[in-house]
């Protein structure tokens, strides 16, 4: 092995620091898609509130929802080239919380149209876990 001078060692350490942070742009793509999934879950929850009173809007809305979700997943799978270190668990946990809130929201609407004064903020709450984790991931 070629002996290293202190200057060469410092140069290698600097290189390592730079290379370890090159994935920032790629991680932002993951964050965008993550926030997108959260917003779409909130939209699906809001649409379930229209299932009883406005069936046509509900059906068209759900079609748009599934198309958007599918498009987002395909775009993400093709575009993402980096899995951010230490974020898989937080991604999974926030997705699980948002999906559980979405399920509770849909169950809430099965007995009739909910009060939108309560239901609209609840829909925002559905998106929050994924949007918050996504914004923290993007700013890491």
């Amino acid at each position: 092995m070629t002996p290293l001078t202190p200057e060469q060692a410092r140069a290698q350490l600097a290189t390592a620091d730079i290379l370890a942070t090159t994935s920032g742009k790629e991680v932002r793509i993951v964050a965008i898609s993550m926030a997108g999934v959260g917003v779409l879950l909130a939209v699906a929850t809001a649409l379930s509130g229209l299932a009883v009173t406005n069936k046509a809007v509900y059906v068209i809305g759900m079609f748009v929802y599934f198309t958007a979700m599918l498009t987002l997943q395909i775009w993400c799978a093709r575009r993402v080239r980096v899995s951010a270190r230490g974020w898989s668990l937080r991604y999974g946990a926030s997705a699980a919380v948002s999906m559980a809130l979405c399920g509770i929201g849909i169950a809430w609407t099965t007995n009739g149209s909910p009060s939108w004064a309560l239901f609209a903020p609840y829909c925002v709450l559905v998106a929050l876990p994924m949007v918050v984790v996504a914004s923290r991931m993007a700013r890491r």
């Binding site: 350490l13 093709r78 899995s83 951010a84 230490g86």
Partner: protein, 107 residues
């Protein structure tokens, strides 16, 4: 200036703790890049390290045989994808390598 009595003649010089597999410049860049993520796609590492597909394949094969890098092949639709990641051993080996470099850098 350091007095002769400060030098421990039995202390191992940090250069002996450098990992020979990681020490090569291209392999060092590959491992340093992978250290920043859980896993990375082959093309991302190739673009970051600025080497050809064949050079990266060869160096990754060396790192894989040393147990430093794990290679996982898969598909996204019909497109083949190769994911690279550091093994737990590889991550530890890189940390020790960096520690040795810091000691050398400190003089």
């Amino acid at each position: 200036m350091r007095a002769d009595s400060d030098v421990d003649p039995h202390a191992v010089h940090p250069r002996h703790r450098l990992n020979e597999t990681i020490h090569a410049p291209v392999r060092f860049s590959i491992v340093a890049t992978l250290a920043g993520a859980d896993k990375m796609e082959f093309s991302f590492v190739r673009d970051t390290v600025q080497v050809s597909d064949s050079v990266l394949s060869k160096q990754v094969a060396t790192l894989e045989s040393a147990g430093i890098v794990k290679v996982k092949k898969g598909y996204v639709g019909k497109r083949p994808r190769t994911w690279l990641s550091l093994t737990a051993f590889g991550r530890r080996a890189f940390q020790l390598h960096l520690a040795a470099l810091r000691e050398i850098a400190g003089g």
